[in-house]
Symmetry: C2
Subunit: 481 residues, 2 copies
């Protein structure tokens, strides 16, 4: 076999070390199937010349590739692509089109893989949808840990639907927003994302259409699309989903609605109380079950948002998803699903076959914290700080970006949804910003078509770091567009 | 519409309260689609007569059914099956045959649903594959909680593959059994079951054949079967999988091997060192990637088992699954997968789209405990107690069951795999035992054909309770078979 042909070079202007760019390149080439197993890799001399790097950098990269098993080095006959059978299965899978029928899972978009990978490094994270570390209520946790340290007598698998004490606390918590339910109608999941995944595995009929706001959080993942369904984007106005603009489902075809009515991710739009009634009635008329994603329910600024759809739902047509990730701690990985008993039972059964339940430790700690009378005090303070950060972020944007950016003031949530002037190429800005250690989310990953938006999180970073990030972006915009 | 026809009656000899048998019956009838939405339910008078129960019992049941939204009560026109659209989707789904093509998830077997449901009640659990609560090392946990209470500064999403400190501890832990790997080749999952689920979503080609020991743990779930694959059982001898008896995969068809070489669940068989080499070579020759499930790796009695397949694997052909569930605490929900980098990256990417990672809290606590020098002391003690319980359980079985049961002495793990005399109807024994609050696992749920085995766990219950359970089973066997 002839040696592989290579016409790629590392980009020395990037922050990512050159040797790592090389290992990434090899990995992509092998995983994509471009380089079949057994293929001969050019000599070190040729590779160094092609890549324009010195021998020692190249050897660092090759050593790592050998160590992780991607390439095999045989004295005498040089290096070849390793012959392990998983790599070869993998190679076929990355060719998604071939496997779409098998319901296998799609890889994440390039921008998101990059964000996932970089978010752990020392970068300014205007991308991160998490509470700021300095808002972490350590005292509340410490109390819960102390209690457990003294009282825990085992840590075994829990009841299939989740620990009863936690489900009871959640039921109490939900009553405050008008959802009157009982522990029996609640399933605890590993974050609300897992609940979406369970629903799509357990309840979506093949070829169903999922109506959803455009843009929407779920477009940025493949949690629904990998289940043989079609996402259909529905436009929004400032009252929420413009449901009358959706093409009604054909008779005998299955349709489901997924909505984030409260502080939509990414736009921040809140569906009005009136629109909620209309959407419910429309869905009822057209026999469309509703998935209500309420991840941001508790992070309002001055005024509580309208009641959830689930609070208005009299027929059991709405499945409601809550999460502790946005108001307390995503690392607990706790979410809750509220639905009729048969739906809860079906989801519970499937979850018992896929991971046996969420961490008992997380569940016990959260049950304790939700039962603590100081939790409400913490929440009020958390919201106040968040709302100040939202204001401060907008003051900063006005200072630097008024010439080329517009946005609506959010009433809750973590994000500013910012429209940039048409001359600014957002993909290019994203790449330039990443190289300068500033991360934001391009709006297109949430949308059904390209757009001129970016999503900026004001929640995670301090206001100082937010400003620092905006200053870097401002220079990049002024220099390049 | 005429009222529904009902010819079922509650079984008053069961421990399950009659009103609950009624709600279960309604639920099954509705979820199965037998009772379409809008269907009219007979009057209370007729129902009470049909069921042979008094009015107040019936009303308790009906109230609950109304509360969970399964039936609707309209003054004047009586009760009807609720018209929520999820129930109707669900009803279609329970007809699995219709949806097999969509890759949707199958419901659990009846016996397992029953076990899942009953295990939380006050029954003698000879079914439970968990460490005994009285072996729980509270002091180790308390130290970890104290540390976290004082030092935790946030609890956010973690690195996509899991917290680095934990992956490093796992790598160190694995070196002790001969697997030399690094944090980069490890993915932390929510228990090892989630890892199996991720692999089946991410790496299994459509229509692949999965070779596995018969009987096997994975036959009792649908984690593999729901991904369009065929499980093919391979017989075992006392050295492990008799791989030469498997029909080699057809050319161009995909085949994968799943094995539990160490303390196979349910049989307890350990694959010998020699067989491990042979299986690896066979798989290599036939281009069959291997999944090695090592959930019971650390729970040996007198002698460490042979090295894992992964320790012998030079080509990256083996994916190894470890778990903390059997040697410390299943409630942490922590497992680890060891594989080549491209495989780890692919699994990590899919897991980021399905649940954003395992509980950070569980990960931090486990990293701390594994780093504690006292962990090894705990482990040694844990194994010693477990091995004594295994012996005691066998003394008890010999005392009561020598006339009609045989088994091999296990060298590790949690289970006795017991063959009962042919005259004993195991399904009937299971139902009788459940009614007497004793749970065991019928062997057939693990097998590819009916068998005369049951799986008894000696791990979870105390030896006293084990004996009590065996005494109840003995009476049932003597009276009924
Ligand atoms: C709208 C929405 N739903 C669900 C989630 C999932 O969060 P978790 O799985 O942590 O509950 C997110 C997180 O970003 C979100 O923005
Ligand atoms: C062989 C085997 N593998 C995997 C598991 C899953 O355990 P966990 O998800 O808790 O790691 C079990 C649990 O019973 C098991 O017996």
């Amino acid at each position: 076999m002839n040696a592989l042909h290579i016409d790629w070079q590392p980009d020395k202007t990037l922050a990512l070390p050159v040797y790592q760019q090389i290992t990434d390149y090899f990995q992509r080439a092998i995983a994509s199937g471009d380089w079949p197993m057994g293929a001969k890799i050019p000599s070190q001399r040729k590779l160094a010349a092609q890549f324009g790097v010195n021998r020692s950098t190249l050897i660092t990269a090759l050593d790592e590739l050998v160590a992780v098993g991607l390439i095999t080095s045989t004295p005498g006959s040089g290096m070849t692509v390793s012959g392990n059978h998983w790599s070869s299965l993998l190679a076929e899978h990355v060719n998604w089109a071939q496997y779409v029928q098998a319901g296998q899972f799609k890889p994440n978009s390039h921008a998101i893989q990059k964000i996932n990978q970089f978010e752990t490094d020392d970068v300014i994270r205007l991308s991160t949808g998490e509470p700021a570390p300095d808002q972490f209520p350590r005292a509340l946790f410490q109390k819960a840990f102390d209690h457990l340290g003294q009282n825990l007598t085992s840590l075994n698998y829990t009841e299939p639907a989740g620990i009863l004490a936690l489900r009871q606390q959640i039921a109490r918590h939900l009553a405050k927003v008008g959802i009157h339910t009982s522990a029996d109608n609640i399933l605890i999941t590993s974050g609300s994302l897992q609940a979406l995944q369970l629903v799509s595995m357990s309840l979506f009929p093949k070829d169903a259409t999922i109506y959803t706001e455009a843009p929407t959080y779920v477009k940025s993942l493949h949690v629904f699309q990998s289940a043989h369904t079609h996402l259909a984007g529905v436009p929004m106005d400032n009252q929420g989903m413009a449901y009358w603009q959706l093409t009604p489902p054909a008779k005998d075809s299955h349709a489901i609605m997924y909505t984030i009515p409260t502080f939509n991710n990414p736009t921040g739009i809140v569906m009005s109380a009136e629109r909620r009634q209309q959407v419910l009635a429309y869905a009822q008329d057209h026999r469309i079950p509703i998935l209500e994603d309420a991840a941001y329910q508790d992070v309002w600024f001055d005024q509580q948002p309208p009641q959830p759809l689930k609070a208005l739902d009299e027929t059991g047509n709405v499945i409601y998803f809550g999460s502790i990730s946005k108001s307390l701690a995503p690392g607990l990985r706790i979410g809750w699903t509220v639905a009729t008993k048969p739906v809860i039972d079906r989801l519970t059964d499937v979850r018992m076959q896929t991971d046996y339940g969420a961490s008992s430790l997380s569940q016990l700690v959260l049950a304790k914290i939700l039962a603590d009378p100081e939790y409400d005090t913490y929440q009020a303070h958390f919201r106040e700080v968040l709302s100040h950060k939202a204001e401060a972020a907008q003051v900063i944007l006005h200072r630097y970006w008024d010439d080329f950016a517009t946005w609506d003031a959010p009433q809750g949530g973590f994000y500013l949804w910012v429209r940039l002037a048409d001359r600014i190429n957002i993909q290019k800005l994203f790449d330039l910003a990443t190289a300068q250690n500033v991360l934001f989310n391009p709006g297109s990953i949430y949308d059904f078509q390209p757009n001129q938006y970016i999503r900026l999180s004001f929640s995670y970073e301090s206001t100082e770091r937010f400003e620092q990030g905006i200053r870097i972006l401002t220079s990049l915009i002024k220099e390049n567009f």
